[in-house]
Symmetry: C2
């Protein structure tokens, strides 16, 4: 997908030259950014608000496969997944730092693509790039991003404060990123076996975008404020719905009933899961990488959110003694477990 | 140097288990740390002070060689070099996040050593570990640390504010880390060629410590405050004195005269450099990794610092037209250039 045919070697620029080249179009847009790139450290002034900090590391061959992940998309995604953690605190991200370890197999043009995707995500989320580090790697690409945001102390929402009787809510729909990955893996295998065959990705834009270009829910903290709802707890969905529900219930010392029929799944996710002989519910529960927000609200806030198309109520919080359960479409209750990714891969 | 003979595989703990295991003794000591490890993000409240952020990435085989770098020292050093950037802003570090990419060749015990070194540095600098990420790597170890600190806006010192007539000062002494590295490299070669020969490191504690266990200058911001001196510019010495002087002069649009005879070099550094047929001055100028602080002060502040054993005046700031010069012991003036590491390696 790279259209650049020129190749400039990294060694032709050197470390300082490369950093200067990649960051030449970086602009500072936030008033809170006092000093960005170019000193020993960045300086930020949130003027009495609290500072929110989250960090993620993405490793080639572990978190991404450049065989089907274009570098621009990788850049966009690596920033988005970090910002998602800030939104999950009901806070707004304002700055990021970007550290890269790169091998000489990457050209300057390839890194320009990566950076272009990162800057696209920053623009979308109104976030400033204020620092980072660029170094060589002996093998693959490693991306480490730290996101910094702000919130006043009374706005911040933690994971450990859900309480019995609360409603369990989720934004958007789930499972799409996982079936998108299955589709990309299948087409990669076909390509490896028969290099002449073009990948068959037509009509699957939605699930491919969910995997390749996830959107962190920038809109939700503002929406909740407008609706005058402060969640009692919140987390973002990176590892799958089941795992995140268990984080909230364990840390909050509560139980929970999750209703299978309420879990929002897009029709295209549903159909593609079926094509792969995967249970769509399992994809939503354990697939991960949806970067939607999972939160609990007080029952009294139900009228404020019930008509909102972006939010689905999927269960309710119970006493810890009742456990964490999935109530199936048939009405059977079974304990919810976090199966995670690996065990899912071989599932029917 | 690891005394553990037991080996616990990383896979026996899993990602969440490993993070929990490594961070079980992490304590929060700073009032500004509202929320540490365990949520989507950390929450920090500097109560009106500004937030200072710096990040560094260390890659095995590029920045460190585990053949002679014990993991505990590596942990200590990787934290220290990040904190050094915060001190270089005349600020105090308060929190760090630690991201690790690790291959399965590391055992749980090895990571415990690494973490023990990191926690030792945190304790020394009164810094809280508030978050991070732990992931697998296809090959070597990658460490990415983000340091977060605080300062009031009138205390912060930047790189680009040196002015003509200022005095150029440096803390401690220089070149030791570089000759320490030469010694370690030599003994590694001897060991590789004759595995039975014990390394000859006796009597070289100082330069070995400079390389393996550098101390970020925590004392300097406080000392300067006590002396009632606010530097006009400041930077930490990671790449070598010459390179850092050029950063300050370029960004401040000034020139500078640096006096060779004034550069502080410890006798053990001097002697070992001579043993390697290296020019001690070149080691100080281009060796790097000393993590001392380089700063400029107004001439009027001279009486306040002149008697201080931790600070040496090594030159003065001139008009940009005069250029950046090294005045040799013989009185000759020559333009100062940043040779950097690689070119130094083959120097006589």
């Amino acid at each position: 997908m790279l259209e650049n045919t020129d190749r400039t070697e990294l060694s032709s620029l050197g470390e300082f030259g490369l950093i200067k080249h990649l960051t030449q179009f970086v602009e500072i847009k936030n008033e809170s950014t006092i000093k960005g790139i170019g000193d020993d450290a960045a300086v930020i002034d949130f003027k009495g608000k609290q500072t929110i900090v989250s960090t993620d590391m993405l490793v080639e061959g572990v978190h991404f496969d450049l065989a089907y992940m274009p570098l621009k998309h990788l850049g966009f995604k690596s920033v988005s997944v970090n910002l998602s953690d800030i939104y999950a605190m009901n806070a707004m991200p304002k700055q990021i730092t970007i550290s890269l370890a790169i091998s000489s197999r990457f050209s300057v043009e390839a890194l320009e693509e990566l950076y272009a995707g990162m800057m696209m995500a920053c623009k979308k989320h109104n976030v400033d790039i204020v620092g980072g580090d660029t170094t060589s790697s002996k093998s693959g690409l490693v991306i480490s991003i730290t996101a910094i945001g702000e919130a006043s102390s009374d706005e911040i929402v933690y994971r450990n404060t859900a309480k019995e009787g609360d409603l369990l809510c989720v934004t958007g729909d789930l499972g799409g990123a996982y079936v998108g990955l299955q589709l990309l893996e299948r087409e990669k295998q076909i390509f490896l076996e028969s290099p002449g065959v073009q990948p068959d990705l037509e009509g699957n834009d939605y699930i491919l975008e969910r995997q390749l270009k996830p959107e962190a829910r920038k809109d939700i903290p503002g929406l909740l404020k407008k609706l005058e709802v402060k969640p009692t707890s919140m987390i973002d969905i990176s590892d799958g719905l089941a795992s995140e529900i268990l984080h909230i219930t364990t840390l909050s010392n509560v139980g929970c009933n999750l209703y299978e029929e309420k879990i929002p799944i897009d029709p295209s996710t549903y159909n593609m899961a079926r094509e792969f002989n995967l249970d769509p519910t399992v994809c939503a529960l354990s697939g991960g990488e949806d970067y939607e927000l999972l939160f609990t609200i007080d029952q009294a806030d139900f009228p404020k959110i019930k008509a909102n198309p972006d939010i689905t109520i999927i269960g309710h919080v119970t006493h810890i003694k009742e456990g964490v359960n999935l109530i199936s479409k048939g009405g059977t209750s079974m304990p919810l477990t976090a199966q995670g990714w690996d065990s899912l891969l071989n599932k029917k």
